[in-house]
Symmetry: C2
Subunit: 171 residues, 2 copies
């Protein structure tokens, strides 16, 4: 069994004091560990008919596209406000202070398309829940969600009730 945690490093006080940042760059830069992570994250969804993998900007992109390639699916970027060039749908989520929003092209995929959501970290679940809302607003059928890291103590899973939520490592 690959010990993925060995390749995820804690960086204290980043991006701000009191936060311990999970740095996944050592995992990504190691060819074998990176391939193993992509394969293991893809595995539960092989044969499930995933047509499109939606990745959340920007670290989510790093995992969504190789998973899409592995599954024989296309990829749809879910981006920060104002980055996509055509008509978008957006969904907002709460921050510590205020709200922020993410966007996807309103015609990103045809109605009924089977979509897998991928991001690097499942923390409070706010962004993930907004992304699911967005995928369904466009008419996608959510097959499941896959995260490299789950911060279990933040209970993000509770914001995705009834969904297939997978993660590779949990803290």
């Amino acid at each position: 069994m690959t010990d993925f945690k060995k390749h995820i490093h804690d960086v204290p006080d980043f991006p701000k004091k009191g936060i311990v940042f999970k740095d996944i760059t050592p995992l990504l830069s190691d060819a074998k560990i990176f391939a193993a992570a992509v394969d293991r994250l893809s595995e539960p969804f092989v044969g499930k008919g995933v047509q499109v993998v939606a990745g959340i900007e920007s670290r989510g992109f790093l995992l969504a596209t190789p998973i899409a390639y592995r599954l024989g699916a296309g990829v749809v970027p879910i981006r920060k406000k104002g980055k996509l060039p055509r008509a978008v749908k957006s969904a907002s989520y709460a921050l510590e202070y205020g709200t922020d929003s993410i966007e996807a092209h309103a015609d990103a995929f045809p109605r009924g398309t089977k979509v897998l959501l991928v991001d690097d970290v499942l923390a409070t679940g706010g962004t993930a829940a907004a992304a699911v809302e967005l995928i369904e607003a466009i008419g996608g059928s959510l097959v499941g969600t896959a995260f490299l890291i789950e911060l279990g103590f933040l209970s993000g899973r509770q914001k995705l009730p009834g969904r297939d939520v997978r993660s590779l490592v949990s803290y």
Copy 2:
């Protein structure tokens, strides 16, 4: 021969008036075209010993990681200022007004690592040249550069003299 251009759409006046944006999202979301693009971009570098693919935030991430997976390499993110949690090296490039910079972890890979640089678009070549400078400052050995789109009329290639520069489609 796959007609990749059919899946890249022109969006006039984005992100600002007078600029025609090349929207690659239709190419990405089509599973077959996306896989063909990844395969074709990887092809010249198969068997060249690429150990790490460096991708430039954030659209570059969408192509760098599946190419890394295809080539059996790791992936290193080159990011905008302030996004990476540990000690970085940075390189700056000219904008229309002023300059901007990109960063990579100073220990992103060991000295002598064979690196392929990937981004979505080669335009004026400013960002690409800064990324090459960064890769070599960290001690990487640049195997080549691969871009989905080359805007030939902006002569970005001239900023990468003596480098192996590949692109899938050219305008």
